[in-house]
Each structure stands twice: as structure tokens, then as C-alpha cells.
Amino acid sequence: MIFAHGVGERGDLPLPLYLFAWGLGLALVISFFALGVLWTEPRLEKASEGKALASGGGLRAVSIVARTIGFALYALCLAAAFFGTNQPSQNLMPVTFYVVVWVGAQLIGGLIGDVWGLFNPIETLAKGGERFGQIIGRPVGHGPTNWGHWPATIGLLIFLFYELSHPTGARPRTLAWVIGAHAVFTLLMGMAWGADWVREHEPFTVFFAKIGAMAPLFVEDGKLRVRSPISGLARMPVRTGSVALVLTAIGGTSFDGFSESETGRDVFGSFFDWELAAWESIGLIVSIAIAIGLYAIAIAWTNSVTKIGFGRAWREFAPSLVPIAFGYAGAHYFQLFSDEVQSFFFRLSDPFGVGWNVLGVSADSRWLIGTTAVAWIQVGAMLIGHVGGVVVAHDRAVDIFPVGKSLQSQFAMLIVMVAYSSLGLLLLLTA
């Protein structure tokens, strides 16, 4: 419903949506056939190597500073959530968690680089747990290796429940207990399986790394490198549950868009509290199921044309979903991000909501972005996301299928991409 029941967002003015939908669909069809003619061999894999920008000491120093800032903000947020005011809009935690981290890490992560990986306070915490385990003489074990991204998917689903359905999901105390429990869990897992656990299973870290795989900047062997946008998806690690993870995020964003639309208000308007939460949870699950169903149709077609096996095709095309998740997030949350990042600085200046103004920020400096600018950014995000998805899927297809089959194998994928984009425009822009 309301983005996290309290962080809030403002919708957009009505657009001539059908024009955008046609334009976007046309752009996808044209790029699909242009790719068929011009892009006859895989290129992304090679482009994903990139070239080195900086190395060694500088990067390490930046990393240490970022980790320190990340952990300090994490600790401050938890303190504010436990001991500050319980009003969502007056406490540092909700805006930081739902806007700066959840939206910011996706938008900046997809455009520039995996910024969450840079600041990641959860990994710092897990390292603390690992160190503590070693001090008390407990050897670090190894977690199961065959769980893939299922634990992260379940974690993401729990997060989406709190974000979109839980009756008091934006209340600082609610977040204090949930994120506090997550912190204790992280410490214990760090002790048991070591800090590597975070990169393998922690929902935010795993999901933001997926989004970051499409970004131009990345770190490899301690060196900062730059590559073409989206090329990194060619080497994105795909494991069991990866597709479900990304589709869960897409389904969550779609559901948020739907529940804020006038239709959504009519559907959910007569329920309150836990009854509302129950219906919204069902809506969330249905929304994720639709996202999964559409992808399954595309994959079933690909399999029927190429006979490579449904399961293999399911995993091979997983990277093409990442730009769509990014596009959805950009279209739906850019305005929220622009408006509420300013609230973040007000809250940072008074984390506990008791009337401080440590940073000396002035209410006069508040600026709301114009709705026309937002509309263009939204359409741009959808365009980049879906054309990016088509390019990545095509690149995979020419890599694994013979020349004649590759284009044909993607017909259903193209239709599904058009469906995702039209659905996205409908749900995310009308508000």
C-alpha cells in the first residue's frame, strides 16, 4: 500500500500512457530485429572484462572509510529505532532503510556500481562475529553449498512483507526488532559459517550484487575496473534460486505500484490492520506469481524451439531479468528517492526525532522534483531496463544456440518483455 506505511511517496500526473506503451513496445521490437541482423555473435562476455582504473592502496583506503561510515550509520539507525521517537517520519531508521538503502542501493547500484558492497555494514558485522568465534576458540565451519540463492529469496520475501504488507512495517520499533534480529542472526552466522556467508546468502547483499552486475564500475582482485553498462551480466553468477530472487523483486515493485493505483485503493480500501496485511500479502504473492509465470512462458517457448531443457534455459536467461528489475525500481521509486533523500538529511540531523538540528539543515532548502522531469526519467528507466533485457537475452541466445535458432528462440521472450514493459508502465506510472 503506502510505501512502507509511512515513508510515503507522491504519484505522478496522468501521462498519455498509451503513447509511451506503444513507443516502448516499438523500441523493443525494432531493437530485437536490429540485434538479429547486427549482433550475430556474443559480445558481452568480452566487454565484461573491462579495463583497470585504479588499484591498491587508494581503493583500500576508500573501502575502509566507506565500511566505517556504513557501520556507523547502521548502528545509529538501530539506536534511533530502539530509543528514538516511534513516529516513522521523525525517526532516522525508516527513511534510511526503505529509501536510502533499498531504493538507493538499487538505483545507484545499477547505474554506477555495487555501492552496497562498498558500505555493507552486514558484512562488517559478520566479520565481527567470525572474529569473536575465533577468539573464543570456535572453528569457522562451512555452510551448505547447494542452497543457492533460495535463502536470499526467502529473506527478500520477508523484507517485502514488512515493506508492503505489515501493518506497522514503517514504525521505528517494528524495524528495530526485525533489523535487530537480523543483526543477531548475522553475528551467529558469522561465527558458524564465517563472513563469506553474507555474500552467499544475505538477501540485500546478494540482490544488490545482482543489480550491481549490470553497472559499469566493479572491483576485481582489489582493482577498480570499468566496463560497458550491462556487459557485466554476461558473467553474473547464476545459481539455483537466482531467477526467483530477481522475479520476487520485480513482483514486489509491481505490487507496490498496483496497491497505490486508484484500482488498488478500491480493492484494499475497506480493510484495516492485519486483515489488510493478509490481503496485501496475497496480492504480493499473486504479483510475484505473475512475474514468474510470464518468464516461464518465454522459457517454455525457448525450450520448445531449441530443446535445451527447461531448467537450463530458465537459468541461462536469468541475467536478462536484472535490467528489468532495475528499470522497474527506477520507474517506481525515483521520485520517492529524490524527495525522501532530503528527508534523510533532516532525519540525520535529528536521528531520534527529539528536536535536534546537528547538521544545521534548513527546511527552506527542501525541493520537490517536477512531475514532468520524473515522468521522463520513469519512461527512460523502463526503456533502458527492457532494451537492456532484450540485449542480454539475445547475447545469451547467440552464444548457446545455432544462428538460425537464436532469433526464433527469443520470440516469446520479446513478447514477454513487451508485456513486462506495458504492465510496468501501467502499474508504476499511473499511481
Binding site: H5, G8, P88, P167, D339, G355
Partner: protein, 186 residues
């Protein structure tokens, strides 16, 4: 006071209201409701006075006109309830809420919200007033414009603001997370 040219008024009152809001915030949100309400009334009085005294300093014709209108309406609306104090980083108008171009009345009782429409449509530049009654202690939050109002059970809270930013803005209750309605400014 003027509703014809609220932007000018807003500029004059902006600073003093901001100062008042900071002052109120310093008193603390967690003080008892009664004390907070008394503070609110006093602050509103002070704010109103500062508007009248600071207006003549401005040399624009509009300001003079606004001042004259302000005097006229003051005598007319002597019975009107003064606006409830607001928090948040946004600025509410100090004019009586009943004078707004569009006044929305909301009642919350036994978990049910009563409001004329879930989406209220207004023009850019108009003034919007909100009058709310709730049977529970609540905090109303207007997003985007970021205006917060405390609500005490059995009392009517009211505020108005200048809708000068286009968009759709949600109004909800912070304690229960309940969505009340949204305002489409276009």
C-alpha cells in the same frame, strides 16, 4: 487574512513559522498532549501577530493589500478556530483553515475512515485545508509537503497549506499507518 495571494503571505510568514516550528520541536514531541496544545495556541497567536507587524515593512502593493485583507478577515472570522500547530519540515498557512479554496473533512472512528473521496483533486496554487477528528491519539502526515499535525481524541485538528507543487501526495496517520486520502495537485 489573504487567500487570494497566499504565496506572498507564505514568504512573509515562512521564516517566523519555521522559527516557531523549531521552537515547538525543542519543547519536545513527547510532552503531554495538554501542554503541547496550550503551547500550540500560544505559538499560533504569536505567529499571527508577527505577520501583521512584518507586513508593512514590505513595499510591494500585494503585501499592503494582504495586510488590509488580513484586518478585514480578522474581524469577520473572530469565531474561527486557529490552525493547529504543525511539525515536519513543511510550512502550513497561518490563515484560518475554513478560508482555504478546498477544505477536506475527515473523521476516523473505530478504525473507519470517513472522507469525501480517496483522491482529492485541486489546482496548482490553490490553498487546501484539512479538518480532522479522530477517536485515538494520532499524528497526521502529509507527504511531500511534509506537514505533521498532532491529533488528540475528541478535539478537531485543522491546518491548511499552499498547494504550489504538482503531484499526488498521500495523507496518512502515523500511529496506525492508516491511509486517509491523497491530494492530486495539477
Amino acid at each position: 487574512m489573504s487567500t487570494r495571494n497566499p504565496s506572498n503571505l507564505r514568504a512573509v510568514t515562512g521564516k517566523s513559522v519555521a522559527a516557531a516550528v523549531v521552537a515547538i520541536a525543542l519543547v519536545g514531541c513527547n510532552s503531554t498532549e495538554d501542554a503541547a496544545l496550550t503551547d500550540a495556541e500560544q505559538t499560533t497567536q504569536t505567529t499571527n501577530t508577527s505577520v501583521v507587524t512584518s507586513a508593512p515593512e514590505s513595499t510591494t502593493a500585494e503585501a499592503v493589500e494582504a495586510e488590509q485583507e488580513a484586518e478585514e478577515t480578522e474581524t469577520e472570522d473572530i469565531e474561527v478556530v486557529p490552525p493547529t500547530e504543525t511539525f515536519g519540515s513543511g510550512t502550513a498557512l497561518t490563515t484560518p483553515t475554513a478560508d482555504a479554496d478546498k477544505v477536506v473533512e475527515v473523521t476516523v472512528a473505530n478504525g473507519e475512515v470517513e472522507v469525501e473521496d480517496l483522491r482529492i483533486k485541486v489546482d496548482v496554487g490553490s490553498t487546501v485545508g484539512v479538518v480532522i477528528e479522530s477517536d485515538e491519539v494520532e499524528h497526521l502526515h502529509l507527504h511531500g509537503y511534509d506537514i505533521l499535525v498532532d491529533i488528540a481524541p475528541g478535539e478537531t485538528a485543522n491546518f491548511s497549506f499552499l498547494a504550489d507543487q504538482a503531484g499526488v501526495f498521500e495523507i496518512e496517520l502515523e500511529e496506525s499507518g492508516r491511509f486517509l486520502f491523497e491530494i492530486q495537485v495539477s
